[in-house]
């Protein structure tokens, strides 16, 4: 595989042809915030939190779906990017109903952590306060649409790590939401294997194990990593 040389934040690095800017940055130890990216499944560039500036390109580009090019100059941490990232986070909070104080994922939530990192001490946009329901028909797991950010990680984990294809997205725009099978109660789904990979993939408190109360739901990403490593590297090693 041919290598490409590029600079990220002024640092000269080389990356394999076909690598994404996110992979190249990760390799070089340069952190780029992500939300919809999940190791082991393909990227869809849905959340835009990983936006970067590329010299000579007017638009901001998502690092997770942009491939490296020879001589590319990437900036990952500018005033403009920080502003847009905070804006995106605030819009995510304003879009549904995030009541951290009573959320199962309080303290273990990727959305929350990013909000802190980006200095979000309040949301400047008007909250929409939409009406969404809870699906607690599954024997083991629950889904609270109020906390879903539509990152699609559960859908990709379900289709491409477990291979069940239970989780999908239905609806458009503000009414887009995660469904099970043909939009039926999760508990009635015939394709769901009850593996819980969607739950472990979820960055927020939208998917949770039943019985978890406020602050108790820490998602176990190590389980997904284990399977993905086994598949890609043929090594059965757990990271913890």
């Amino acid at each position: 595989m041919a290598a490409k040389t590029l600079t990220i934040d002024g640092k000269q690095i080389s990356a394999f042809e076909g690598a994404t800017v996110l992979q190249a940055a990760e390799e070089a130890g340069i952190p780029i915030p992500t939300l919809c990216h999940l190791d082991g499944v393909y990227d869809i560039g849905a959340c835009r939190i990983c936006l970067v500036e590329v010299e000579g390109v007017a638009k901001l580009l998502p690092a997770c779906t942009t491939r490296v090019r020879e001589g590319m100059e990437v900036r990952t941490d500018t005033e403009r990017l920080r502003n847009y990232r905070r804006m995106i986070l605030e819009l995510l909070f304003a879009e549904r109903n995030h009541v951290c104080a009573v959320c199962v994922s309080n303290g273990h939530c990727e959305l929350q952590t990013l909000a802190y990192e980006h200095g979000m001490d309040h949301v400047r946009y008007e909250y929409r306060f939409p009406k969404w329901d809870l699906d607690v028909t599954h024997r083991l797991y629950g889904m609270d649409h109020n906390r879903c950010i539509l990152c699609n990680r559960c859908v990709r984990a379900c289709w491409h790590i477990e291979g069940a294809g239970t989780k999908n997205v239905a609806g458009r725009g503000a009414r887009a939401h995660i469904i099970s099978d043909l939009n039926q109660p999760w508990g009635d789904s015939e394709s769901c294997t009850s593996c819980g990979k969607c739950v472990d993939a979820c960055p927020t408190g939208a998917l949770f194990k039943k019985g978890a109360t406020a602050g108790e739901m820490a998602h176990n990403r190590a389980k997904l990593e284990f399977i993905v490593t086994a598949r890609e590297k043929k090594q059965w090693i757990a990271s913890e």
Binding site: C100, A101, C103, A115, Y116, D121, H122, Y127, P130, K131
Partner: protein, 162 residues
């Protein structure tokens, strides 16, 4: 309550400031020329709206204090249900065993606003201290900065919701 967790530092604080208004003080009218106010709770009824406008007009630095003031938090859980009538109906009529009726004494019980909003949706807020509740050490840090004349926005590890 979290405020009271400041323990003996409250004594130092009392020496540094004049407390001119609080819901638990015997002062009915919010005074004029106030330097700093810590507003707890969201805007949920018509009294809150009126008081909040008066507070803004008479105060230099308005601080939204705690998640309810900053986001609406649990008090805003009624918003997705729409008309406040639905909530009143559920709480005071459907759930009542005897003589179901709304608490609606004129000039005593204020009417609910159509939806609960964070303070900054109603008036300009200068500083935000989220947390449910904000822990005492963070309140202390925040107030010390204010007393030192540098009211700064919180950042990084000092921001925490829930």
């Amino acid at each position: 309550m979290s405020f009271l967790d400041l323990d003996e530092w409250l004594v130092d604080l009392a020496a540094a400031v004049d407390v001119v208004y609080s819901p638990i003080m015997d002062i009915k009218e919010y005074p004029e020329n106030v330097d700093v106010v810590l507003v707890e709770g969201a805007i949920a009824n018509e009294d809150h709206v009126e008081l909040m406008h008066r507070i803004r007009a008479n105060t230099k630095v308005v601080v939204a204090f705690g998640d309810c003031a900053v986001t609406g938090n649990v008090t805003a859980l009624r918003n997705p249900l729409g008309d406040p009538e639905n909530v009143l109906q559920r709480a005071y009529k459907d759930a009542a065993d005897i003589a179901p009726q709304y608490p609606a004494e004129k000039d005593i019980v204020p009417r609910l606003t159509p939806r609960v909003t964070p303070v900054h949706e109603l008036v300009k807020v200068d500083l935000f201290l989220p947390g449910c509740p904000p822990p005492a050490p963070r309140i202390k840090l925040f107030l010390e900065q204010l007393l030192a004349g540098k009211g700064e926005r919180l950042a990084g590890a000092n921001i925490k919701f829930g």
